[in-house]
């Protein structure tokens, strides 16, 4: 008899335990209600019309920057809970530079760029907090997170443009290439004539190394290969001579040989235009080749940022180290490629300690503490890891040595 009671008790306990891991109906209702309240508030702010400029005009911290992300929080309000896709990200894109953003898929790098363009999937995706300051051509600085939807259209496409990951599906299948290119020009330069726009589009197709641009101009997207379409996308991004081009994994969907061509093209473009490129990729090799500055993201936060040299010569965060180790090298005798064990934690209910702790091979007692702050290890090099403090001294010494060597 007692046995049975015990059994029932155990069962009940087990069920309770299990229940902890499920979201209860009330919880869902509560989150859904809360979400719709927040979304409504944010959307209302976004959809306002005739907002006075003062509300979103601000000043740049450093006028030499094109974009300054300042403590950006971009959330997705799903019914299962709030997904903190970008959770307090701050970095700058200086003028005439290439800034690479690296990280695994789902680390928030694409969301960061979409926040900058205000193209988050509404209504669930919202910029919740923080500022994105943008230094426009006319010298004004906009706080992108506050710019209402209608006014954003003046900035998008003209001041900053975007190259997407999937060239195969990013062009509208029912319009000719030429029409899609001209459309951008007509939109941002209403005074431009038809013939002029055509000439400009064709010359831009030439710039991106498309042979027979006149013929391509009157083709439909499906008649072109993936590489060609990505060139067209790049041409479209360049049309209005933008301040900033965001390239969101521009080569991921392409063949390896085409990848190299597209990267070459991007590098050449940087010399041609008077702007910056924000290059998003999960490929550290690409970053090493192209970027001036590197931002490494993990689970919605920046874990390390610095110049290319710093990140590649002196990576501090074990994740960055792991990423570098996992690049296949042509030379060398390693027969097994390094992989970082485990996966990124669930973006809902992130733990309150270092997100990388459970995958980290250099974990030590300090790591059980709160999430580490970004600490400065050199004027440009920041890292969010408890190892940084330990290594600071070491690094300083190393740098001194390097400098000495350089002086010699």
């Amino acid at each position: 008899m007692k046995n049975i009671v015990d059994k029932i008790k155990i069962k009940r306990k087990k069920r309770k335990e299990e229940a902890k891991h499920f979201i209860s109906k009330e919880q869902i209702k509560k989150t859904a209600k809360e979400n719709s309240r927040i979304i409504k508030q944010l959307e209302r702010q976004n959809n306002r019309k005739n907002v006075p400029e003062e509300e979103y005009i601000t000043t740049m911290r450093d006028p030499n920057n094109v974009v300054e992300f300042d403590n950006l929080h971009s959330y997705f309000f799903t019914d299962a809970g709030v997904v903190k896709a970008v959770d307090g990200v701050s970095f700058d894109i200086p003028k005439r530079s290439i800034v690479g953003v690296v990280g695994e898929s789902g680390c928030g790098k694409s969301v960061t760029s979409l926040s900058l363009m205000k193209l988050l999937q509404s209504p669930t995706g919202q910029i919740f907090d923080g500022e994105i300051r943008y230094n426009a051509k006319d010298g004004k600085a906009y706080n992108i997170s506050k710019v209402p939807k209608a006014d954003m259209n003046r900035i998008r496409g003209k001041e900053m443009s975007m190259i997407f990951q999937e060239p195969m599906t990013s062009l509208n299948p029912v319009f000719k290439i030429g029409d899609q290119l001209d459309e951008v020009l007509f939109l941002h330069f209403p005074e431009m004539g038809k013939e002029e726009a055509k000439q400009k589009s064709i010359s831009m197709l030439k710039t991106v190394n498309i042979a027979m641009p006149e013929s391509i101009y009157s083709r439909y997207p499906h008649e072109l290969s993936g590489g060609m379409r990505q060139r067209v996308m790049i041409a479209m991004a360049l049309l209005c001579d933008p301040n900033l081009i965001i390239a969101d994994e521009p080569t991921t969907a392409l063949d390896v040989t085409i990848q190299a061509q597209i990267l070459d093209l991007l590098r050449n473009i940087k010399h041609d235009i008077d702007g910056s490129i924000m290059l998003i990729t999960h490929d550290l090799g690409v970053i090493a080749e192209m970027a001036d500055f590197v931002v490494v993201m993990y689970a919605g936060r920046i874990i390390e940022k610095g110049t290319v040299r710093e990140i590649f010569k002196n990576p501090i965060h074990p994740y960055t180290v792991g990423l570098q180790k996992s690049i296949p090298a042509l030379s060398g005798t390693k027969d097994k490629l390094y992989t970082i064990p485990g996966t990124v934690p669930n973006p809902i209910n992130l733990p309150n300690y270092c997100y990388f702790r459970d995958r980290c091979n250099k974990r030590f007692d300090k790591c059980d503490g709160a999430y580490p702050e970004l600490t400065q290890v050199s004027p440009t090099h920041y890292v969010a890891c408890y190892l940084a403090d330990e290594m600071k001294a070491e690094i300083k010494a190393k740098f001194k040595e390097v400098d000495k060597n350089a002086k010699r």
Binding site: L119, A150, N153, S170, L171, P173, V174, V184, L187, M236
Partner: protein
């Protein structure tokens, strides 16, 4: 050179599609004919005229029965019978209705026994209108009014459903979306005979706003055209409300799919206004699946609406079909079914061709 190649390819494609259509029509006709012949020994013509044959043994009825049986190949087995029937259909002899006759518009000059013309007092030759029971003649004469009604209903349906569907997709989970969803569902779920009766009861009998039946009212003071329209308000309302829901939902689903695609994000990234994004970039792409709906429009335009026409006593092809069914006029029902299938096949063909017009990715080679 290139153009001529395209034309050759197009002709090839059309020929291939036509061959397929013929195949499908052959299948349809087999099904229709077998339905009629499936019970061996049951001759629907004889069954129909059984009573008259008992009464009148002089031969006139027998002659008629024999003629009808010949058209349907009823005296031979089901296979030969089918061939006979198809042969007749290809000859344009679709059978004779048991219950309908129409004036063909031609007249017969009356002559007396000696062959001299009979003249009336003013010296004109007397004539007699020639009536016909040929089902094709009946279909032709009855489908005009059905076509007019269906055309108005279809235009209304499209001009209401598509904008509403788009709004509902762009403002997903908004007030418009919910009411559109519920209304569309209501439209899909309402049986036409119940909805028609309800409208009649409320707007015609109780409120007296619209006439009870028919197309014209001899006592009406309104001009004929306005009077006709006044009579058509209720039937067209039924047709529109019942068909609008499906189209609305179809538009909404397709629009949602398109709005989630990458090229819409590209369009937004260009800096286009939301209005342009939706009505230029998204709408053109939603049109592509909407073209398939064209296939169904043709039969509904010419085929009439059986129940609606019957309820509102409009003498169109739908009411004729209804009457034919209820009074066992199998020749007419067979022809009507074949006619609708023919329209469906043509409609499908047209919609496939339209696909190529709307979607540049579709080449008329190989087909789907």
């Amino acid at each position: 050179m290139r153009l001529s190649l395209v034309i050759v390819k197009m002709i090839k494609y059309i020929i291939k599609r036509l061959a397929l259509s013929v195949l499908i029509l052959a299948g349809v006709s087999i099904i229709i004919y077998s339905l009629v012949r499936i019970k061996p020994g049951l001759d629907f013509v004889e069954a129909k005229y059984y009573a008259q044959m008992q009464l009148d043994d002089t031969g006139e009825v027998k002659e008629m029965v024999k003629r009808q049986q010949e058209i349907y190949g009823l005296s031979s087995g089901i296979f030969e019978g089918y061939l006979v029937w198809v042969g007749n259909i290809l000859d344009g002899n679709w059978g004779e209705s048991f219950i309908f006759t129409v004036n063909t518009g031609e007249v017969e000059l009356l002559v007396d026994a000696e062959g001299n013309p009979i003249l009336d007092s003013t010296g004109n030759q007397l004539t007699k209108p020639i009536s016909s029971s040929n089902v094709l003649d009946i279909i032709a004469s009855k489908s005009t009014i059905s076509f007019i009604i269906a055309l108005i209903a279809t235009i209304l349906q499209f001009s209401i459903a598509i904008p509403l569907g788009i709004t509902s997709a762009t403002k997903q989970y908004g007030v418009v979306d919910y009411s559109v969803t519920v209304l569309a569902m209501m439209g899909i779920s309402l049986p036409s005979f119940f909805f028609g009766a309800l409208l009649l009861r409320i707007f015609s009998i109780q409120l007296g706003w619209f006439p009870y039946a028919g197309l014209t009212d001899p006592n009406s003071t309104l001009p004929v055209f306005i009077d006709n329209l006044h009579h058509l308000v209720l039937p067209i309302t039924v047709l529109v409300i019942l068909s609008i829901g499906g189209l609305m939902r179809y538009t909404r689903t397709n629009m949602l799919e398109v709005l989630n695609s990458d090229y819409i994000r590209t369009a937004r990234a260009k800096g286009l206004s939301e209005h342009k994004v939706i009505y230029k970039h998204a709408f053109r792409n939603t049109l592509i699946p909407l073209v398939t709906i064209l296939a169904g429009i043709l039969p509904s335009l010419f085929g009439g609406a059986m129940i609606t026409e019957t309820i509102f006593s409009i003498d169109g092809i739908g009411k004729a079909a209804f009457k034919a069914v209820t009074s066992g006029d199998i020749p007419f029902v067979m022809a009507y079914n074949l006619f609708l299938s023919l329209l469906t096949v043509i409609g499908t063909l047209l919609s496939d061709l339209m696909y190529a017009v709307v979607d540049p990715r579709v080449k008329l080679i190989g087909g789907r």
